[in-house]
Symmetry: C2
Subunit: 170 residues, 2 copies
Protein backbone atom coordinates (compact mmCIF):
# COMPACT_ATOMS: atom_id res chain seq x y z
CA UNK A 1 0.00 0.00 0.00
CA UNK A 2 3.03 2.27 0.03
CA UNK A 3 2.01 3.37 3.52
CA UNK A 4 5.53 3.99 4.82
CA UNK A 5 6.39 6.17 1.83
CA UNK A 6 3.25 8.23 2.44
CA UNK A 7 3.97 8.61 6.15
CA UNK A 8 7.48 9.81 5.23
CA UNK A 9 5.91 12.33 2.83
CA UNK A 10 3.60 13.60 5.56
CA UNK A 11 6.69 14.19 7.72
CA UNK A 12 8.49 15.93 4.88
CA UNK A 13 5.52 18.20 4.21
CA UNK A 14 5.24 19.04 7.93
CA UNK A 15 8.92 20.04 7.90
CA UNK A 16 8.16 22.29 4.92
CA UNK A 17 5.22 23.74 6.86
CA UNK A 18 7.50 24.45 9.82
CA UNK A 19 9.84 26.37 7.48
CA UNK A 20 6.81 28.31 6.19
CA UNK A 21 5.98 29.22 9.79
CA UNK A 22 9.56 30.43 10.26
CA UNK A 23 9.01 32.75 7.26
CA UNK A 24 5.80 34.02 8.87
CA UNK A 25 7.76 34.83 12.06
CA UNK A 26 10.38 36.75 10.05
CA UNK A 27 7.68 38.56 8.07
CA UNK A 28 5.88 39.67 11.23
CA UNK A 29 9.17 40.88 12.75
CA UNK A 30 9.96 42.92 9.63
CA UNK A 31 6.47 44.41 9.53
CA UNK A 32 6.48 44.90 13.32
CA UNK A 33 3.31 43.01 14.21
CA UNK A 34 2.72 40.05 16.50
CA UNK A 35 2.99 36.84 14.43
CA UNK A 36 0.48 35.24 16.79
CA UNK A 37 -2.19 37.44 15.21
CA UNK A 38 -2.25 34.76 12.51
CA UNK A 39 -3.46 32.15 15.01
CA UNK A 40 -7.07 33.30 14.85
CA UNK A 41 -7.06 34.03 11.09
CA UNK A 42 -9.91 32.47 9.10
CA UNK A 43 -10.91 32.62 5.45
CA UNK A 44 -14.58 32.95 6.47
CA UNK A 45 -16.17 33.53 9.88
CA UNK A 46 -17.52 29.97 10.24
CA UNK A 47 -14.29 28.29 9.07
CA UNK A 48 -11.75 26.81 11.47
CA UNK A 49 -8.91 29.21 12.37
CA UNK A 50 -5.24 28.90 11.55
CA UNK A 51 -4.37 27.11 14.83
CA UNK A 52 -6.88 24.37 13.99
CA UNK A 53 -5.55 23.95 10.47
CA UNK A 54 -2.09 23.15 11.85
CA UNK A 55 -3.39 20.89 14.61
CA UNK A 56 -5.59 18.91 12.23
CA UNK A 57 -2.80 18.54 9.64
CA UNK A 58 -0.61 17.03 12.38
CA UNK A 59 -3.44 14.81 13.62
CA UNK A 60 -4.21 13.43 10.15
CA UNK A 61 -0.60 12.34 9.69
CA UNK A 62 -0.38 10.94 13.22
CA UNK A 63 -3.68 9.05 12.87
CA UNK A 64 -2.71 7.52 9.53
CA UNK A 65 0.55 6.16 10.96
CA UNK A 66 -1.11 4.94 14.15
CA UNK A 67 -4.24 3.38 12.63
CA UNK A 68 -2.34 1.57 9.85
CA UNK A 69 0.36 0.20 12.15
CA UNK A 70 -1.65 -0.55 15.26
CA UNK A 71 0.70 1.66 17.31
CA UNK A 72 -0.89 4.04 19.75
CA UNK A 73 -0.59 7.72 18.85
CA UNK A 74 0.51 10.16 21.56
CA UNK A 75 -2.28 12.50 22.61
CA UNK A 76 -1.58 16.19 21.99
CA UNK A 77 -3.91 18.68 23.69
CA UNK A 78 -5.44 21.32 21.44
CA UNK A 79 -4.29 24.23 23.56
CA UNK A 80 -1.76 26.11 21.41
CA UNK A 81 -2.20 29.88 21.30
CA UNK A 82 1.10 30.93 19.68
CA UNK A 83 3.03 30.12 16.52
CA UNK A 84 5.90 28.89 18.73
CA UNK A 85 3.53 26.40 20.36
CA UNK A 86 2.21 25.30 16.97
CA UNK A 87 5.77 24.67 15.84
CA UNK A 88 6.31 22.59 18.98
CA UNK A 89 3.17 20.63 18.10
CA UNK A 90 4.58 19.93 14.64
CA UNK A 91 7.84 18.86 16.32
CA UNK A 92 6.04 16.38 18.58
CA UNK A 93 4.14 14.97 15.62
CA UNK A 94 7.41 14.58 13.66
CA UNK A 95 9.07 12.85 16.60
CA UNK A 96 6.26 10.27 16.49
CA UNK A 97 6.29 9.89 12.68
CA UNK A 98 10.06 9.43 12.72
CA UNK A 99 9.75 6.32 14.92
CA UNK A 100 8.17 4.34 12.08
CA UNK A 101 9.85 1.88 9.74
CA UNK A 102 8.46 0.06 6.71
CA UNK A 103 8.12 -3.00 8.93
CA UNK A 104 5.47 -1.31 11.06
CA UNK A 105 3.01 -1.42 8.16
CA UNK A 106 3.72 -4.91 6.86
CA UNK A 107 0.51 -6.41 8.26
CA UNK A 108 -1.90 -3.93 6.78
CA UNK A 109 -3.57 -5.00 3.53
CA UNK A 110 -5.73 -2.84 1.25
CA UNK A 111 -8.89 -4.50 2.57
CA UNK A 112 -7.88 -4.56 6.25
CA UNK A 113 -10.80 -2.91 8.03
CA UNK A 114 -9.80 0.09 10.14
CA UNK A 115 -11.89 1.34 13.07
CA UNK A 116 -11.52 4.97 14.05
CA UNK A 117 -11.96 6.20 17.63
CA UNK A 118 -14.21 9.05 16.44
CA UNK A 119 -16.44 6.84 14.26
CA UNK A 120 -17.85 4.21 16.67
CA UNK A 121 -19.70 1.36 14.99
CA UNK A 122 -18.06 2.09 11.63
CA UNK A 123 -15.04 0.77 9.77
CA UNK A 124 -13.27 1.61 6.52
CA UNK A 125 -10.89 -0.39 4.32
CA UNK A 126 -7.24 0.58 4.83
CA UNK A 127 -6.69 1.58 1.22
CA UNK A 128 -9.79 3.79 1.17
CA UNK A 129 -8.78 5.26 4.54
CA UNK A 130 -5.29 6.19 3.37
CA UNK A 131 -5.91 7.33 -0.21
CA UNK A 132 -9.43 8.80 -0.07
CA UNK A 133 -9.40 10.25 3.44
CA UNK A 134 -5.99 10.78 5.08
CA UNK A 135 -4.01 11.99 2.05
CA UNK A 136 -6.61 14.51 0.79
CA UNK A 137 -7.37 15.64 4.36
CA UNK A 138 -3.73 16.12 5.35
CA UNK A 139 -2.87 18.23 2.31
CA UNK A 140 -6.14 20.17 2.70
CA UNK A 141 -5.15 21.45 6.13
CA UNK A 142 -1.50 22.13 5.28
CA UNK A 143 -2.59 24.06 2.17
CA UNK A 144 -5.25 26.01 4.05
CA UNK A 145 -2.67 27.01 6.69
CA UNK A 146 -0.38 28.12 3.85
CA UNK A 147 -3.25 29.97 2.14
CA UNK A 148 -4.06 31.85 5.35
CA UNK A 149 -0.45 33.07 5.62
CA UNK A 150 -0.35 33.92 1.92
CA UNK A 151 -3.64 35.80 2.28
CA UNK A 152 -2.03 37.61 5.22
CA UNK A 153 0.86 38.84 3.10
CA UNK A 154 3.66 36.42 4.04
CA UNK A 155 6.06 36.08 1.11
CA UNK A 156 5.93 32.36 0.46
CA UNK A 157 5.63 30.40 -2.76
CA UNK A 158 4.96 26.91 -4.03
CA UNK A 159 8.60 25.93 -3.56
CA UNK A 160 8.25 26.54 0.18
CA UNK A 161 5.26 24.21 0.27
CA UNK A 162 6.89 21.49 -1.84
CA UNK A 163 10.35 21.87 -0.34
CA UNK A 164 13.48 20.83 -2.24
CA UNK A 165 12.81 18.11 -4.83
CA UNK A 166 15.20 15.45 -6.09
CA UNK A 167 15.77 16.70 -9.63
CA UNK A 168 19.12 15.67 -11.11
CA UNK A 169 20.94 16.62 -14.30
CA UNK A 170 20.03 14.24 -17.12
CA UNK B 1 4.15 2.36 -6.66
CA UNK B 2 0.37 2.39 -6.31
CA UNK B 3 0.27 4.79 -9.26
CA UNK B 4 -3.07 3.60 -10.65
CA UNK B 5 -4.76 3.97 -7.25
CA UNK B 6 -3.43 7.52 -7.01
CA UNK B 7 -4.57 8.42 -10.52
CA UNK B 8 -8.03 7.09 -9.61
CA UNK B 9 -7.98 9.27 -6.48
CA UNK B 10 -7.07 12.32 -8.55
CA UNK B 11 -10.13 11.61 -10.74
CA UNK B 12 -12.33 11.14 -7.69
CA UNK B 13 -11.15 14.42 -6.16
CA UNK B 14 -11.74 16.24 -9.47
CA UNK B 15 -15.31 14.88 -9.49
CA UNK B 16 -15.72 16.25 -5.95
CA UNK B 17 -14.32 19.59 -7.15
CA UNK B 18 -16.85 19.65 -9.98
CA UNK B 19 -19.64 19.14 -7.43
CA UNK B 20 -18.18 22.02 -5.39
CA UNK B 21 -18.34 24.19 -8.53
CA UNK B 22 -21.99 23.21 -8.96
CA UNK B 23 -22.61 24.48 -5.41
CA UNK B 24 -20.87 27.75 -6.32
CA UNK B 25 -23.20 28.12 -9.31
CA UNK B 26 -26.29 27.56 -7.11
CA UNK B 27 -24.93 29.96 -4.47
CA UNK B 28 -24.39 32.72 -7.03
CA UNK B 29 -27.90 32.19 -8.45
CA UNK B 30 -29.43 32.45 -4.96
CA UNK B 31 -27.43 35.59 -4.14
CA UNK B 32 -28.05 37.00 -7.63
CA UNK B 33 -24.48 37.59 -8.73
CA UNK B 34 -22.50 36.26 -11.69
CA UNK B 35 -20.70 33.06 -10.61
CA UNK B 36 -17.94 33.92 -13.08
CA UNK B 37 -16.88 36.72 -10.73
CA UNK B 38 -15.07 33.92 -8.87
CA UNK B 39 -12.80 33.29 -11.88
CA UNK B 40 -10.50 36.21 -11.09
CA UNK B 41 -10.60 35.74 -7.29
CA UNK B 42 -7.21 35.62 -5.57
CA UNK B 43 -6.16 35.31 -1.94
CA UNK B 44 -3.44 37.92 -2.50
CA UNK B 45 -2.79 40.22 -5.47
CA UNK B 46 0.32 38.34 -6.68
CA UNK B 47 -1.24 34.88 -6.30
CA UNK B 48 -2.67 32.93 -9.23
CA UNK B 49 -6.43 33.42 -9.67
CA UNK B 50 -9.17 30.85 -9.30
CA UNK B 51 -9.15 29.88 -13.01
CA UNK B 52 -5.46 28.97 -12.74
CA UNK B 53 -5.98 26.92 -9.59
CA UNK B 54 -8.48 24.70 -11.44
CA UNK B 55 -6.37 24.46 -14.59
CA UNK B 56 -3.22 23.52 -12.66
CA UNK B 57 -5.05 20.94 -10.53
CA UNK B 58 -6.21 19.27 -13.76
CA UNK B 59 -2.75 19.51 -15.30
CA UNK B 60 -1.01 17.93 -12.29
CA UNK B 61 -3.30 14.91 -12.48
CA UNK B 62 -2.99 14.67 -16.26
CA UNK B 63 0.80 14.99 -16.16
CA UNK B 64 1.20 12.33 -13.46
CA UNK B 65 -0.81 9.81 -15.49
CA UNK B 66 0.97 10.70 -18.74
CA UNK B 67 4.53 10.86 -17.43
CA UNK B 68 4.27 7.64 -15.42
CA UNK B 69 2.65 5.64 -18.24
CA UNK B 70 4.44 7.08 -21.26
CA UNK B 71 1.07 7.99 -22.83
CA UNK B 72 0.79 11.42 -24.37
CA UNK B 73 -1.47 13.85 -22.51
CA UNK B 74 -4.02 15.83 -24.54
CA UNK B 75 -3.20 19.54 -24.68
CA UNK B 76 -5.81 21.80 -23.11
CA UNK B 77 -5.49 25.52 -23.85
CA UNK B 78 -5.54 27.83 -20.84
CA UNK B 79 -8.35 30.00 -22.18
CA UNK B 80 -11.30 29.42 -19.82
CA UNK B 81 -13.09 32.55 -18.64
CA UNK B 82 -16.23 31.02 -17.08
CA UNK B 83 -17.05 28.42 -14.46
CA UNK B 84 -18.88 26.43 -17.16
CA UNK B 85 -15.67 26.32 -19.19
CA UNK B 86 -13.66 25.30 -16.13
CA UNK B 87 -16.10 22.45 -15.54
CA UNK B 88 -15.64 21.41 -19.17
CA UNK B 89 -11.86 21.46 -18.59
CA UNK B 90 -12.31 19.14 -15.59
CA UNK B 91 -14.50 16.93 -17.79
CA UNK B 92 -11.82 16.66 -20.47
CA UNK B 93 -9.19 15.83 -17.85
CA UNK B 94 -11.46 13.14 -16.36
CA UNK B 95 -12.09 11.64 -19.81
CA UNK B 96 -8.31 11.23 -20.17
CA UNK B 97 -7.77 9.88 -16.63
CA UNK B 98 -10.59 7.37 -17.13
CA UNK B 99 -8.75 5.76 -20.06
CA UNK B 100 -6.07 4.33 -17.73
CA UNK B 101 -5.84 0.85 -16.32
CA UNK B 102 -3.39 -0.60 -13.80
CA UNK B 103 -1.56 -2.16 -16.72
CA UNK B 104 -0.55 1.25 -18.07
CA UNK B 105 1.77 1.78 -15.11
CA UNK B 106 3.31 -1.69 -14.90
CA UNK B 107 6.66 -0.61 -16.37
CA UNK B 108 7.32 2.29 -14.03
CA UNK B 109 9.59 1.52 -11.07
CA UNK B 110 10.32 3.80 -8.09
CA UNK B 111 13.73 4.68 -9.54
CA UNK B 112 12.61 5.08 -13.18
CA UNK B 113 13.89 8.51 -14.16
CA UNK B 114 11.16 10.83 -15.45
CA UNK B 115 11.90 13.80 -17.71
CA UNK B 116 9.43 16.66 -17.69
CA UNK B 117 8.77 18.84 -20.74
CA UNK B 118 9.06 22.00 -18.63
CA UNK B 119 12.35 20.97 -16.95
CA UNK B 120 14.77 20.42 -19.85
CA UNK B 121 18.07 18.82 -18.87
CA UNK B 122 16.62 17.52 -15.59
CA UNK B 123 15.08 14.26 -14.44
CA UNK B 124 13.45 13.00 -11.26
CA UNK B 125 12.86 9.50 -9.91
CA UNK B 126 9.28 8.30 -10.48
CA UNK B 127 8.57 7.76 -6.77
CA UNK B 128 9.84 11.23 -5.85
CA UNK B 129 7.88 12.71 -8.76
CA UNK B 130 4.60 11.11 -7.69
CA UNK B 131 4.78 11.36 -3.89
CA UNK B 132 6.80 14.54 -3.32
CA UNK B 133 5.64 16.61 -6.27
CA UNK B 134 2.40 15.52 -8.00
CA UNK B 135 0.36 14.48 -4.95
CA UNK B 136 1.14 17.58 -2.82
CA UNK B 137 0.80 19.87 -5.86
CA UNK B 138 -2.53 18.42 -7.00
CA UNK B 139 -4.16 18.72 -3.59
CA UNK B 140 -2.65 22.20 -3.13
CA UNK B 141 -4.49 23.56 -6.16
CA UNK B 142 -7.78 21.76 -5.49
CA UNK B 143 -7.73 23.02 -1.90
CA UNK B 144 -6.85 26.58 -2.91
CA UNK B 145 -9.75 26.59 -5.39
CA UNK B 146 -12.00 25.34 -2.57
CA UNK B 147 -10.58 27.95 -0.18
CA UNK B 148 -11.28 30.75 -2.66
CA UNK B 149 -14.94 29.71 -2.91
CA UNK B 150 -15.18 29.29 0.87
CA UNK B 151 -13.62 32.74 1.33
CA UNK B 152 -16.23 34.01 -1.14
CA UNK B 153 -19.10 32.70 0.98
CA UNK B 154 -20.08 29.50 -0.84
CA UNK B 155 -21.60 27.05 1.65
CA UNK B 156 -19.28 24.08 1.28
CA UNK B 157 -17.62 21.85 3.84
CA UNK B 158 -14.97 19.20 4.18
CA UNK B 159 -17.41 16.48 3.13
CA UNK B 160 -17.80 18.17 -0.26
CA UNK B 161 -14.04 18.12 -0.72
CA UNK B 162 -13.62 14.50 0.41
CA UNK B 163 -16.79 13.21 -1.24
CA UNK B 164 -18.57 10.10 0.03
CA UNK B 165 -16.24 7.67 1.82
CA UNK B 166 -16.57 3.91 2.09
CA UNK B 167 -17.42 3.56 5.78
CA UNK B 168 -19.44 0.46 6.62
CA UNK B 169 -21.17 -0.73 9.78
CA UNK B 170 -18.82 -2.82 11.90
Amino acid sequence: MYTFRIVKQFARTLRNLDAVLEKAVKHAEARKFDVNNFCSARLYPDMLPFVSQIRIACDQAKAAAANLSGKEAPKHEDNETTVAELRARIGKCLAFLDTFTADDFKNVKPDTMIRLPNRPGKAIAAEEYLYARQIPNFFFHVTTAYDLLRHGGVEIGKSDYLGPLGFVDA
